[in-house]
């Protein structure tokens, strides 16, 4: 607990112009906080070297263990206000949240000094309730396990070995190479990016098998993964079960070709000379491209990448197969299959490139045969545009946008493709000797849990139906991240991608695995709170074994024993505090972030007894990840809002404990806003489930308030993404008019 604090108020950047310093200093020196604040000062430019030197001198002279910097946002100059390991720093955001965004209220003028005082006192209180965490430093295993021996897995193994790590490479099949080994050629991977080239997988296999740091296990069944990052025990059956000590895992189990029944509307299965790209590739690899009907070389091949006909099937398909109630003694289907027609669409980039590549095979292997490519989108992002151009330059490769309307068989075995919306200017029919339909890339995780994690929350990754089986939890911000710390996905199991991308992906995931092992070793979070040394502490004496924390942790960090007592695994934890928000008994806390601390901060807000004279008060619990920066941006761009709101930053809305809302309301606060990330299928929550859990808990809180005679509407949650700074004044304005004006003062006010 920080007990000797230095409080420094900066008067630079408009702060001094808007605020009189003396009363602000007095707010600390003449109150209950005076005892823990031996140094209280102001400075014209607190970030100047002179001021920093002065603070450092004060720390040395007074033995300060905490510094409250009342200046700009904590998101700026964080590298300047650092005073060594033993000194905690709290930033009070006077610039962005008070001065720059202050809007005078006509009825209650002159609130700015009051607001600044509130924030300063909140900052001091917050720091006084904060300890420096002392994490354990487990001795971690450094070995990286790579699951899958295809292009991605092989590359990952080599990359990890290059970084000096020992690697265990696990391949289910008898030989290495994966899908790459079944392909004739792949898209260009090097300058000038014009011609399909050999996959190079054989050379890669040779390199891997001859590398002393890589242990290769083929025909290997991955039985289970127990423990936590840095401390895993993997069980593998490769002619007998073996256990391996593992630090982190790269998941590169790749993909399987999609179910061809989705292609039935395009003639697959009913027309002999309609094949899939996977089958066509196999023919090319085997050496001769022939028509299945008569074994003759086709004179024309049509590649259809528009799959809109198959979308009919998608609409008919139920979103989720309702699992039949399991009969007594029979196990429920452990892993609902996640494949559907959408995988064709997800694979668009690949199906475009594959069509171009295979059109090239036609030109290469079949003399003067023609290749037609009828596409909905020609998706060739980045450098692959060059490949598209070079394919297009071949006079025998003819391309048009088209919506395929019908695929029928001609009497002579040819296939007639009817299409509309083509570039040719009419509804057209094209006859081809052979038609090739795209092959969907379906991640293996759509069909099976794959990881066999011995976690309380189950063997696989949760909520993969949101991604139709692709193992990814936040692809926009955190590639490779899965919902299980320590397991990093790369390659087509994560997202359909080219081999060139898969190689880079492998390298990226390996770096993440290395970071994970290193962070675990230093007692730090890997991400998104990289370097955070705090961790949840459980007061087991008061735990009622309700299991909410173990069930709600988005990352499965908590296991439990038979009775339901949570068993923390600090290296799995991402320090979001969702467990703390979940706990009804408030037994979970972080040294530097806890229920009492935030509750005490809220209590520092001055709430006038008379709402008409003093104005209402609203507490805004702000997610640090997106909403808080959005507030800063709004202030920076000259937005302003009601002077009656007070912002309280939280790690994630998932960490919001109901007691904070209850405390605020009982203190007379007129409303509580939770401002956090978007949730639902397209969530932007850094901790995946935090804002969603908060919204669910909010409903319960509002109901409880209702029972006390407080309107449920006084507690509201809003979603805001980092770029929606312009929405913030509107959100606050709406709450102030629709809720506060409408319902009037909190009935508990004054008690």
């Amino acid at each position: 607990m920080a007990e000797k604090l230095g409080v420094y108020i900066c008067s630079g950047c408009d702060i001094g112009k808007a605020l009189d310093m003396a009363p602000l200093l007095e707010a600390v020196t003449k109150g209950k906080l005076a005892g823990i604040c031996p140094v209280v000062k102001q400075n014209p430019v607190l970030c100047s070297p002179d001021a920093i030197a002065e603070i450092e001198a004060d720390i040395a002279a007074n033995g300060l263990d905490g510094v409250v910097v009342c200046a700009c946002s904590p998101r700026v100059k964080w590298d300047i206000f650092k005073f060594g390991q033993g000194v905690q720093v709290e930033r009070v955001n006077l610039r962005e949240q008070c001065v720059w965004s202050f809007r005078e209220d006509e009825k209650v003028p002159g609130l700015l000094p009051l607001m600044a005082k509130d924030y300063i006192k909140m900052g001091v209180m917050k720091l006084s309730k904060s300890r420096i965490p002392a994490p354990e430093f487990p001795e971690t295993f450094k070995t990286i396990m790579v699951l899958g021996g295809g292009m991605t897995g092989l590359t990952a193994a080599l990359e990890a070995a290059k970084l000096g790590k020992d690697v265990v490479l696990v391949e289910k099949a008898a030989t290495l190479g994966g899908k790459a080994a079944t392909m004739y050629k792949t898209f260009p991977m090097s300058h000038p990016y014009l011609k399909a080239e050999d996959t190079g997988v054989d050379a890669l296999i040779a390199e891997v098998t001859s590398n002393a740091k890589i242990k290769v296990l083929t025909s290997a069944e991955f039985v289970s993964l127990e423990g936590a990052p840095g401390l895993y025990s993997a069980t593998i059956n490769a002619g007998g079960e073996q256990k391996f000590d593992i630090g982190a895992v790269v998941l590169a189990t790749g993909w399987v070709p999609g179910d061809t029944s989705f292609l039935a509307p395009m003639g697959y299965g009913s027309i002999k000379n309609v094949v899939t790209a996977a089958e066509f590739e196999a023919m090319a690899k085997a050496g001769s491209i022939v028509r299945p009907s008569d074994g003759k070389a086709p004179a024309s091949v049509a590649f259809l990448t528009d799959v809109s006909l198959c979308k009919v099937a998608e609409a008919e398909e139920p979103c989720e197969t309702p699992a039949a109630a399991p009969a007594e003694g029979e196990e429920a289907p452990a892993y609902p299959d996640k494949e559907n027609a959408k995988h064709l669409a997800y694979s668009s980039e690949l199906t475009s490139l594959v069509a171009l590549k295979q059109a090239g095979y036609v030109r290469e292997k079949l003399g003067d045969a023609l290749a037609f490519v009828l596409y909905d989108h020609m998706m060739v992002p980045g450098i692959n545009e060059r490949y598209y151009k070079s394919a297009q330059d071949d006079a025998g490769i003819m391309l048009s946008k088209a919506t395929i309307t019908k695929v029928t068989e001609d009497a002579d075995g040819g296939v007639i493709v009817a299409a509309k919306d083509t570039l040719l200017g009419a509804d057209v029919e094209i006859k081809a000797d052979l038609v090739v339909l795209p092959t969907a890339i379906v991640p293996v995780t759509a069909h099976e849990p794959t990881m066999n994690l011995q976690y309380r929350q189950g063997p696989g990754f949760p909520d993969l139906e949101l991604f139709d089986g692709f193992v990814d939890s936040n692809y926009v911000c955190f590639p490779y991240e899965t919902r299980r710390t320590g397991v990093y996905a790369a390659g087509c199991v994560r997202q359909p991608m080219t081999m060139a991308t898969a190689k880079e992906d492998a390298a990226g995931a390996v770096l993440k695995a290395v970071q994970c092992i290193g962070s675990a070793n230093r007692g730090m979070a890997v991400h998104p709170r990289s370097g955070d040394i705090s961790f949840p502490v459980f007061n087991f004496q008061r735990c009622t074994q309700c299991k909410r924390c173990t069930e709600e942790c988005p990352f499965g960090a908590l296991d439990d024993d038979e009775k339901g007592t949570p068993k923390p695994n600090p290296t799995r934890c991402r320090r979001c505090g969702t467990c703390m928000g979940a706990c009804p008994e408030r037994v979970i806390s972080f040294d530097n972030y806890n229920v009492d601390q935030i509750g005490s901060m809220i209590k520092e807000v001055y709430v006038p007894d008379d709402m008409v004279a003093g104005g209402p008060r609203v507490i805004v619990l702000v997610c640090e990840n997106d909403a808080y920066p959005a507030l800063d941006m709004a202030a920076f761009r000259g937005k302003s809002w009601s002077p009656f709101v007070r912002f309280v930053p939280v790690r994630c809305l998932g960490s919001v404990n109901a007691i904070w809302v209850a405390d605020a309301v009982s203190k007379g606060v007129d409303g509580v806003i939770m401002l956090g990330c978007k949730y639902g299928p397209d969530y932007q929550c850094h901790f995946v489930k935090g804002s969603e859990l908060c919204s669910r808990r909010k409903t319960n809180i509002a109901e409880s308030l209702g029972r006390l005679g407080v309107e449920a509407e006084r507690v509201e949650q809003y979603e805001v993404s980092i770029d929606e700074y312009d929405k913030i004044p509107g959100i606050i304005e709406r709450f102030m008019t629709e809720v506060i004006t409408k319902f009037g003062p909190n009935p508990f006010k004054g008690y």
Binding site: D368, Q392, A395, S400, D427
Partner: protein, 420 residues
């Protein structure tokens, strides 16, 4: 469905198009910038975007019967602004080249005309004909480089005479019958070509124009076209307004009117000689008066002050000026944007040949340099023959094909009647 079209891609046709000037056609990715920036393209079914994709797919039927290739005046704006360097302007030029090559019969001339390889052969034909005449006449006259004095109605070789081209290459027995035959041959070839072209256009959709009564007659459209497009070059003028466009427009206008002037001169000579001197004086036995004037007007060589000679010389100067404009524009073309093909160079070469040898002949004749004058005149005859005899298969064929196509485009409503 009734309006579903079976597409028959033709790889050979794509490759042929690439050979005759459309080599970049595969680079098009159908953004339609070309159709948007074209100052002439009609809003309904605009060119050249659709021609690009038809060409990529080798849709021969669509392209050989496409009237729009004649609507284009090849300003090159589309090619300049094409983000892929696909040169749509060049493709339309290539399609016109293909039309020159295949519309008129015999097709073998089209083949010879399609590349520089055929040039020596095409030149050899008139060169041989006129060399034969030269050798025969040299035998008769006793010299290959004769000087003449007038002897009554005839000419006599004399050492102190003057150069008279008609003395060495007599018009009555050699020049005029040969060119007459060539002219008939050309007209017949064009007639066949026009018939083929119009048959192809039958498939073109007719544009329904609100407020327009019945379809105008072809003659009416032809007159309109001659008045607006040919005489005034009005669409040509609308075809871009950058410096190079102005250069091209001016050059073309000068060359066009120079040819008109030279055509008038040729007509005067022909009428004077065959109608005045031959028919009126020789056959009818009329002397003096109008018959004398007509015969005199067409009598060559003319005195330099003759209005006909003045017109001829003015035409020659205009021709040279126009040619310089056109040639300098063409040599300054950015090859990344648009390129010149053999058809372009063939025509420029032949017209330059006609202009320079024509002027050369006159100058060498006037200064009495018989050793230069006769060979130069010989070359002049070759170039004129090449222009006339091969006209339906050369780029100059557009004089006829484009005129007919534009008239037809008016008839079916693809182009509006009246000024543009």
């Amino acid at each position: 469905m009734s309006n579903t079209v079976r597409v028959q891609p033709d790889l050979k046709f794509v490759q042929e198009l690439q050979q005759v000037g459309g080599e970049s056609l595969k680079k098009c990715y159908q953004c339609a910038t070309c159709s948007v920036v074209c100052p002439l393209s009609p809003p309904d079914g605009p060119y050249p975007r659709k021609e690009m994709v038809w060409a990529q797919w080798g849709l021969k039927d669509k392209l050989v019967n496409d009237i729009d290739i004649w609507l284009c005046h090849n300003c090159g704006t589309c090619s300049d602004l094409c983000p892929r360097g696909a040169k749509p302007g060049d493709l339309l030029a290539a399609l016109r080249n293909m039309a020159y090559r295949s519309l008129a019969k015999p097709a073998i001339i089209g083949t010879w005309m399609s590349s520089s390889k055929g040039f020596p052969l095409l030149m050899l034909i008139p060169a041989a004909i006129y060399m034969l005449i030269w050798i025969l006449r040299a035998g008769v006259l006793g010299t290959a480089f004769p000087l003449f004095i007038t002897d009554g109605h005839g000419l006599k070789v004399a050492a102190d005479g003057v150069i008279i081209f008609g003395g060495l290459f007599p018009g009555d027995y050699f020049i005029d019958p040969i060119f007459g035959a060539v002219f008939v041959f050309m007209v017949l070839a064009f007639a066949g070509g026009i018939a083929t072209m119009l048959k192809g256009f039958e498939g073109m959709p007719k544009t329904f124009i609100v407020g327009r009564g019945k379809e105008p007659s072809f003659l009416c459209c032809l007159i309109e076209t001659l008045k607006v497009e040919v005489a005034q070059h009005s669409r040509f003028q609308n075809c871009g307004n950058e410096e190079k466009d102005v250069q091209r427009f001016t050059g073309h206008l000068f060359v066009f009117y120079a040819f008109i002037a030279l055509m008038i001169v040729t007509s005067v000579v022909a009428v004077g000689h065959w109608f005045g001197a031959f028919f009126l004086q020789h056959i009818m036995g009329l002397e003096g008066g109008l018959a004398g004037l007509i015969a005199w007007a067409g009598h060559t060589p003319m005195p330099l002050w003759s209005p006909v000679k003045l017109l001829a010389n003015a035409g020659a100067v205009a021709l040279i000026y126009g040619l310089m404009k056109l040639t300098s524009r063409r040599t300054a073309l950015d090859s990344a944007k648009s390129t010149s093909n053999w058809y372009d160079w063939y025509l420029l070469t032949v017209i330059w040949g006609i202009a320079l040898t024509g002027i050369g002949s006159e100058i060498f004749r006037l200064v009495g340099q018989k050793m230069l004058a006769y060979p130069t005149y010989y070359l002049h005859l070759i170039f004129v023959f090449m222009m006339l005899a091969y006209l339906p298969w050369s780029k100059l064929g557009h004089v006829v094909y484009r005129t007919v196509a534009l008239a037809y485009a008016r008839k079916i409503g693809r182009l509006p009647m009246g000024e543009i």
